[in-house]
């Protein structure tokens, strides 16, 4: 728009990162941008890249030329990339985050004994906790990220973050899970015998009675049993949470925040960038997606469009110039369509002046794609844009 075009090669800029975390509010194109980034890295660098998505939507699979993305990593056939004119130097792999098996593996890894792991996995409450625990998906994404990174099978791990309601859910996830497993509440419940405890703790007795009446007897007891098992995981989980934070703060990691210029997602991006700074996590780049063409802000265009929309004689004039009959609808719609987009572009322009507030990092602007990104060719186009290729002064 008004600032000079800065053709940053985002891929070059992120070349030294082994982990790229792509974040931003829902619907800004995180998943597609992660996939395109993966494609660009694999095309230009001799690396094995894995794109880990949390979005089960089939569309990404189609865009990558896969029938579906499963939880087992799938390699994108290099022949398909070559057909698009790319000469991939590396390898591109995609996988979907498998919540259930990541949880299961976590339990198996940290349970003190195999027997204890088995009991936890078989408990009816286990399923519920793994599904409903706040930030569970966030933490599992990190757990998987950590595993993939330490497995050394891939040179670069790109992950798009879950659509969190709040940026904090993501950044707080490691703390939250260790608080949860080791929390005072669980300590309290995990005392050797809840029944014995009931008898001695006069103050809490009425509450336990209520819980019994609410849930039916035994339910609380069973839950306490479960909680006792989970306690055994504590030291392992806590240690891992610390390692995850260390990794996310290290020079190996780069956060990329994706946003559009719409007020609401932009506001969330601003908030997220502030939080990244607070958590000492390295923001490396900002991608502004779906930028409207600068032509929409051209004052001469606005004048012409207004004439088209409002001038009653303009249809006749058009007819004379073009040598055909033109109904008044034609200029009115043409002018109206331009002015509608002009108003949108104006609203978005307000955010442009606030871009520098996100952080002193390169900003890549991607034009609003004319079509949805629905095949490899469209994804390759996006990958080229991320490298600063083929972008006009947008």
């Amino acid at each position: 728009m008004s600032t000079p075009a800065m053709s940053v090669d985002l891929v070059e800029h992120l070349a030294d990162r082994e982990i790229i975390v792509v974040c931003g509010s829902g619907g800004v194109g995180k998943t597609t941008i992660s996939a395109a980034l993966g494609m660009a890295v694999a095309a230009t660098q001799q690396k094995r890249v894995i794109v880990l998505t949390v979005d089960p939507a089939r569309r990404l699979a189609t865009a990558l030329g896969l029938r579906s993305i499963g939880t087992d990593p799938v390699t994108i056939d290099p022949a398909r990339l070559r057909r698009l004119g790319l000469r991939p130097r590396g390898e591109l792999v995609a996988a979907m985050l498998d919540m259930k098996s990541t949880w299961d593996r976590m339990i198996e890894r940290y349970a003190p004994t195999r027997e204890s792991a088995r009991r936890i996995l078989a408990n009816p409450f286990y399923k519920g906790i793994s599904n409903t625990f706040i930030g569970s998906q966030d933490y599992m994404a990190m757990e998987e990220l950590y595993e993939l990174h330490s497995g050394r099978e891939y040179d670069c791990v790109i992950i798009d973050t879950p659509p969190t309601r709040n940026a904090l859910d993501f950044l707080e996830a490691p703390n939250r899970i260790s608080d949860f497993v080791g929390g005072r509440l669980l300590m309290w419940l995990a005392r050797p015998s809840l029944i014995g405890w009931r008898a001695v703790n006069f103050a809490a007795a009425p509450f336990l009675r209520i819980a019994d009446r609410l849930l039916g007897s035994d339910v609380l007891e069973e839950l306490a049993e479960f909680v006792r098992e989970v306690q055994g995981l504590y030291s392992g989980v806590q240690e891992r949470a610390r390692s995850v934070y260390r990794l996310l703060r290290s020079a190996d990691t780069g956060f990329v925040v994706v946003t559009t210029l719409e007020p609401q997602p932009f506001g969330e991006a601003e908030f997220f960038c502030t939080k990244l700074r607070e958590y000492s996590m390295p923001l490396r780049a900002v991608v502004v997606n779906r930028v409207l063409p600068a032509a929409l802000l051209d004052p001469a265009g606005v004048t012409a469009a207004t004439t088209l929309m409002e001038d009653r004689g303009v249809a006749r004039w058009m007819g004379e110039q073009l040598g055909e009959r033109i109904t008044p609808d034609v200029p009115r719609h043409l002018g109206g369509a331009f002015l509608t987009l002009h108003r949108l572009a104006e609203r978005n322009e307000k955010q442009v002046s606030r871009l520098s507030r996100l952080g002193q990092v390169p900003v890549t602007r991607l034009p609003l794609a004319e079509r949805d990104i629905s095949d490899l060719a469209a994804l390759a186009q996006l990958a080229a844009w991320l490298q600063g290729k083929g972008l006009e002064a947008a």
């Binding site: 619907g27 409450f125 906790i129 019994d212 004052p299 012409a304 110039q321 987009l341 002009h342």
Partner: protein, 318 residues
């Protein structure tokens, strides 16, 4: 379609984040209130946007009147539990009594679906609540949780029943489940945007709502469709005015350069085309009325934007 929705007791408004749930909820509330119904709007993922769309500052857990015949409340599971305990166990407000707060934490994190149950339970409670003459509210509109979480939420009563043996909750879950799955009393509406992912997700959500939660879909709102119809033929005409032979004359007649307008109009044509295409796709696959709500370019969320959307819904269902 509108009459169908407004004659129910509970209408859920669901859809992906950013798909316009809040504005649609607020617009439906305006329409219902105008038809003389006493409306309660419930904001589930409370950010205060729903009350703002109805021209009021954010509200709390106690319903507050924001427009004639419209009240709004922001739902928090913890307060919902406190209210529940107060009503059924005569437990006083417990903010200071830590043991119960702990029990809440424990139950909420430990028991699958407990938080969802407290949300759905509160909605059902408000539906059942009676005032001085008859029910307190004629219609409850729920601005639901973003993404697909609304499905497990609606299924919470059943999930709860499987885990509890006896207990008061068991019998209570039964009538709540009956209310939600009765299409004469409860309907779901789904919001979408004219883009690939939101449309796919809306269709998937509809399938899950019907299949897993057993709730009937009353309507689908396709938000932000491009408002001006533009055909490739229109664009071609303008393009001819911009080509080298006519550019000078055109610029003079129109008072400005046509090239920029051509660029903008090309994009507009694609957006219009996409809107049409996704509307057709939803119509053929949604199995429920599809209402297109055009993009209000530059409109800020607020009462006037809500009124405009309400007017469109009104027109569409005539």
């Amino acid at each position: 379609m509108l009459g169908e929705l407004l004659s129910r007791r509970v209408v859920f408004v669901a859809g992906k984040g950013g798909s316009g749930k809040t504005t649609i909820s607020a617009a439906l509330a305006l329409l219902a209130a105008r038809a003389g119904r006493r409306v309660l709007c419930i904001e589930v993922d409370a950010k205060g946007d729903l009350s703002r769309s109805l021209g009021s500052p954010p509200v709390g857990f106690t319903p507050r009147v924001v427009q004639p015949n419209i009240s709004v409340l922001a739902l928090h599971p913890e307060e919902s539990l406190q209210e529940y305990l107060r009503l059924y166990f005569k437990v006083p407000r417990i903010t200071r009594l830590t043991p119960l707060a702990r029990v809440f934490d424990f139950v909420a994190t430990g028991v699958p679906g407990a938080k969802d149950m407290l949300i759905v339970g509160k909605i059902a409670y408000e539906a059942k609540r009676s005032g001085s003459d008859g029910p307190m509210w004629d219609l409850i509109i729920v601005d639901s949780t973003a993404t697909g979480h609304v499905v497990p939420q609606l299924g919470a009563p059943r999930a709860m029943r499987e885990l509890t043996r006896g207990g008061i909750i068991r019998s209570q879950t039964e009538w709540i489940d009956a209310l939600l799955t009765d299409q004469r009393r409860t309907l779901m509406t789904i919001c979408a945007l004219p883009e690939e992912m939101p449309v796919v997700e809306a269709l998937e959500l509809a399938e899950r709502v019907r299949g897993e939660a057993n709730v009937t879909i009353g309507a689908c709102f396709l938000n932000c469709t491009f408002p001006v119809s533009i055909t490739p033929r229109y664009v071609a005409m303008l393009n001819r005015l911009a080509d080298s032979k006519l550019a000078g004359v055109s610029a003079e007649r129109l008072g400005g350069d046509v090239a920029s307008v051509v660029q903008g109009v090309r994009l507009a044509q694609q957006l219009y085309d996409r809107s049409q295409q996704y509307a057709r796709r939803l119509r053929s696959a949604m199995n429920a009325p599809v209402v297109e709500i055009t993009l209000e370019a530059g409109a800020r969320p607020g009462l006037s934007a809500t009124r405009a959307v309400a007017a469109r819904i009104g027109e569409a269902s005539r």
